[in-house]
């Protein structure tokens, strides 16, 4: 049972809060990645506030589901979600990437409560999620492993080694979610290293494959529920997302992926504009300071 169990409309508001946290963190940090975290805010809201069994006051509770973020570079969305859920004080979000912080540029499992793994080098999380799922199944435990991958990291050979293993062992306690936002650092995925037909590839590796709109809360929840009913295969949810979602000038542009220091994060004016857009729900309501 999720400790928050928010409704779909409450999850949308929570996602909006997470997006505002992300903009403020990146403005303060002056480096990092913008598009991926914003694009995954709806999914992370759904996971932490509806789907996952977890207990923020007891991060290592043995009954928890495991959330493994394999694409560590989108960690601002993970940090913001953990803070919103109460794993650590929200003020600490402003320390992202600064000396002495627990919020490293890429996640370190021993630094901060709620982090299951260290990640950064792509595809490593996938193998670790498979190992955790294997351990849970050896122990006849009922918890699930939720694995978040980027689409760019499907380029890595290790991803497919792990996918092949999980399919062969019928590890049905894995729910993988691919952030299919079609961008990577150097450009659009289909220009850099085409991934399609991704559905057919996962099916060929004996996975149950779902495709959803990654900004549709009900669809996210339904897909996670469906995954729990599949017993002969691991499930992958290919979530079609808009990179930079929620901030008009970032949406769909790979230049906001981020990578090199100082690129792909908003400056003061851009952050102000982005926060205004988020707080007013794109001009539908008036901002609190207007």
């Amino acid at each position: 049972m999720n400790p928050f169990n928010l409704s779909v409309s409450e999850l949308a508001l929570k996602a909006n809060n997470i997006r505002q946290d992300i903009i403020q963190m990146l403005l303060e940090a002056k480096s990092g990645h913008s598009a991926g975290p914003l694009g995954m805010a709806d999914i992370f809201s759904a996971l932490y506030f509806s789907v996952l069994q977890h207990e923020p006051s007891d991060p290592t509770w043995s009954g928890r589901d495991r959330l493994v973020l394999s694409c560590g570079h989108i960690c601002p969305v993970l940090y913001a979600s953990l803070a919103e859920a109460g794993y650590f004080p929200k003020d600490e979000l402003q320390t992202l990437r600064k000396l002495g912080t627990r919020l490293h540029g890429h996640p370190h499992n021993l630094a901060l409560p709620g982090l299951e793994t260290s990640s950064g080098p792509l595809a490593q999380g996938t193998s670790q999620a498979v190992g955790m799922a294997l351990a849970l199944s050896m122990n006849h435990a009922r918890q699930r492993v939720y694995l978040v991958m980027s689409d760019g990291e499907q380029d890595e050979g290790q991803t497919w080694e792990a996918v092949m293993f999980a399919g062969s062992r019928k590890l049905h306690n894995i729910t993988a979610i691919i952030d299919r936002n079609n961008i990577q650092i150097d450009g659009y995925t289909e220009d850099i290293m085409p991934l399609e037909d991704l559905v057919a590839k996962y099916k060929a590796f004996n996975w149950h494959v779902l495709e959803i709109d990654g900004h549709n809360m009900q669809a996210i929840i339904d897909a996670c529920n469906e995954a729990k009913t599949i017993f002969e295969r691991p499930t992958v949810i290919i979530a079609h997302t808009i990179p930079g979602r929620g901030v008009d000038f970032m949406e769909g542009d790979y230049k906001w992926h981020g990578g090199a220091v100082g690129t792909g994060v908003p400056n003061k004016e851009q952050a102000t504009e982005a926060l205004h857009e988020l707080r007013t729900l794109r001009g539908q309501i008036r901002g609190e300071h207007e």
Binding site: T117, S118, S127, M138, M164
Partner: protein, 325 residues
């Protein structure tokens, strides 16, 4: 006084590969701790984990030929409470899987034990691709990782048990060929504590792995010429036993390091780091001198790449001449 095999230096000394000691040790650990799991990448029998697989099939994970994924799965298992033993050839693991060892295992302090078999030129006919000569260098540079190089099969079993009971990442370096069993069941063993195999006063050989036997043979021969050679078995490269190394250097005033590994970055380098900082003395380094291996019989390759008894004697005489200056 350390109890060693009384047949050291004799033709009929027992010979066994270090990997066999690992195979026995991991079975014992499996009996002792039901969280112990063993993974391999299509090398079950040559890494000697067939017995474990037979006894504990539900705790044996065959990964196929995929070392990077194997290291990651091992980390995931460990982060969920298991003690993972990753068994492969060192050229592949930690060779191919170094990035996964670095981040998924060492940075995260996952309780994973990496077992690198088939190290050194003594792998023999398989040739350079399968002869790991860099594994000590690439492992000892990683924070949180214990690095162990047992000298024989008995010690390999003791070391397996020791790292299995240790909480945290470890690397165990093993070999393919049967080599002299220098220690006995009664030889006490402690991780991080180098062993004095032989006392001496003129020069000390500080060596790691089965090739140390050639160092003992050199010491026995030089004794006839009136040269007193101390022999230290430096089986734990990290954390290194600084005290024993410094004391040996103080006593003898000259050091020869010995390993079946590149001299750059290996066990000898680790010894030199200790000496340079604490008690600099002349050092000669015996090992592979910036070359790849090649095919051949193990003993031929040991000679060709300069780790045989005669080459060690030359190194000792050279370091003694430098000491005299």
């Amino acid at each position: 006084m350390l109890k060693l095999n009384s047949k050291i230096g004799q033709e009929d000394i027992e010979q066994e590969p270090t990997r066999s000691g690992y195979g026995e040790g991991v079975v014992e650990l499996g009996q002792e701790n039901q969280n112990v799991v063993v993974l391999t990448a299509d090398l079950r029998d040559s890494t000697k984990v067939g017995e474990f697989a037979k006894m504990f099939p539900e705790r044996f994970v065959e990964c196929g030929v995929a070392e990077q994924n194997m290291m990651g799965i091992a980390a995931g298992l460990a982060l969920a409470g298991k003690v993972s033993f990753v068994s492969s050839y060192a050229t592949f693991s930690p060779g191919r899987s170094w990035d996964q060892l670095r981040v998924s295992v060492c940075y995260s302090q996952a309780n994973v034990k990496v077992i690198g078999c088939h190290t050194g030129v003594s792998v023999g006919p398989d040739g350079a691709t399968h002869q790991a000569l860099e594994d000590i260098a690439i492992t000892r540079v990683l924070p949180n990782l214990t690095v162990v190089v047992p000298c024989d099969s008995v010690q390999a079993k003791q070391a397996t048990l020791a790292i299995g009971r240790l909480k945290g990442p470890a690397y165990l370096r093993l070999t393919r060929e049967a080599t002299p069993v220098m220690t006995t069941q009664e030889t006490s063993y402690e991780l991080g504590k180098a062993q004095i195999f032989r006392e001496g006063t003129d020069v000390v050989i500080i060596g790691s792995g089965p090739v140390l036997y050639n160092g003992i043979l050199a010491a026995l021969e030089l004794e006839k010429q009136g040269i007193s050679v101390m022999v230290v078995n430096n089986h734990t490269i990290k954390p290194i036993d600084t005290e024993t190394i410094i004391n040996a250097a103080k006593k003898c005033g000259a050091v020869v390091t010995l390993e079946e590994h590149q001299v750059m970055g290996g066990a000898g380098s680790a010894v030199c780091e200790v000496l340079a900082k604490n008690f600099p003395v002349p050092v000669e380094m015996v090992g592979v001198q910036d070359h790849f291996g090649e095919s051949g019989e193990p003993e031929e390759l040991i000679e060709k790449f300069g780790m045989g008894k005669e080459r060690i004697i030359q190194a000792i005489k050279k370091v003694l001449s430098r000491k005299g200056r």
